[in-house]
Amino acid sequence: MGVVVKIPTQLRAVADGEAEAEVEGATVKEVLDGLFLRFDELRARISDEDGSLRRFVNVYLAGEDIRFLEGLQTPVADGAELTILPAVAGG
């Protein structure tokens, strides 16, 4: 069992049309790296050259923005749910 990553509609074209993927990893960064291994084009869409998330990408662990946790280093347990969403909504 791994971590379930929910993929937003805007990224499904580069994720074989999948709405979610199950990936192994002990931190948010490891999970995202695992996701990028499977869907190579995803990396450039949401990551900067230095490996950090682009500024209009939000990642939530069980509904909490990872910037309120430990960012990309936030530990994730087996069976957890990670959600990637655009940050440009609202207001």
């Binding site: 937003p8 949401i46 682009r54 939530y60 940050a87 909504a89 609202g90 207001g91």
Partner: protein, 420 residues
Amino acid sequence: MAVSHLECAECKAEYPLEALYVCERCFGPLGVAYDHGSSEHDVGELRRRIQGGPQNIWRYADFLPLTGGPPGPSGRLASRAGLPAGCTPLIRADRLARQLGLREVWVKNDTANPTHSFKDRVVSVAVARARELGFDVIACASTGNLANSVAAHGAALGMDSYVFIPADLEEQKVLATGVYGTRLVAVQGSYDDVNRLCTELSAERDWAFVNVNLRPYYAEGSKTLAFEIAEQLGWELPDRCVVPVASGSLFTKIAKGFQEWRELGLLRDELPRMNGAQAEGCSPVASAFAAGHEVCRPVKPNTIAKSLAIGNPADGPYALDLARRTGGSVDAVDDEEIRAGIALLARTTGIFTETAGGVTTAVLAKLAARGDIDPDERVVLVITGDGLKTLDAVRDTFQTHTIAPTVESFQAGVPEAVSV
């Protein structure tokens, strides 16, 4: 001038005029681009065309993202197109100016909209575009004012609506939403939780979420505030605008409106200095401005200015850039200053604003006290919402003289008025 396409603010990728809001290539926000045409514009003719339009935002339809023009006949006193917004008063506020040591202050009183906030402008545009795109249901994530407006516009146009709000919203805003017969959903969480939920739902439901999948069109509605200010000042720009900042959309789109009219030759002055106003209990943009950062660090809001309580502002980076580029700032004030701001505006202008307007007025006072404003400047204060929406903020801030119905009781119990 005609609307042309959607364009990513970051990588400039182009998209068709559909219900899209995010760039698939870089996740940047999509904005609306127009084709200004290459020929010289006849400024006199453009101005006459605007002035011949209806007394509401549809007089600016040439500069809004509708492909079919205004949604129907409407004027100030009659409308076949729902609840048109705009053409709100711009009021010279000499007594407020004098108290602050300034020469010329104007209040743009956007409480005078159908549901008593500037949100009727953005909702009018978003809903008109939603209908052009064939949507039957409108929805939103709201801190309150948007909730009122979406519910009312849904009722006016006979569209079903879903309104998502944080469960701890002010009672006045909840009541002034539910009355319209919307499906009102109180989410146990902050506005940012509501926003996340609506972002997820927008992918699952075929609804027009005005500030999610329709956001590029919605945001354009805020430009009409800029157009009105310029037109009401006789086709001139103020030297400075003080504007509340929640997501940063209103703040940046007011400047976009001024800029578009400058490019068309309708306005000749420099862009005003743009000052953003936030509450200290939710000031991610003001904090980033003070620290010299280009992006905002999200915060957990805790302020009486709930309509500005967005901890993760979508347009934060653009608001920061605008404030710096125009020689303005983004400042924050605490809850006491907000209450004092509400009272100052009410007592010197006769305009009763909600907490967000208290924030804006208090930031104007702060800028004046700090000496940031040249006394010769013409300043516009943008008041976005009505005080009746946040009555708790003024409870117990004044004295009521209760007397028996006799002249003696009045003379004994009520002191003589003292002019401010």
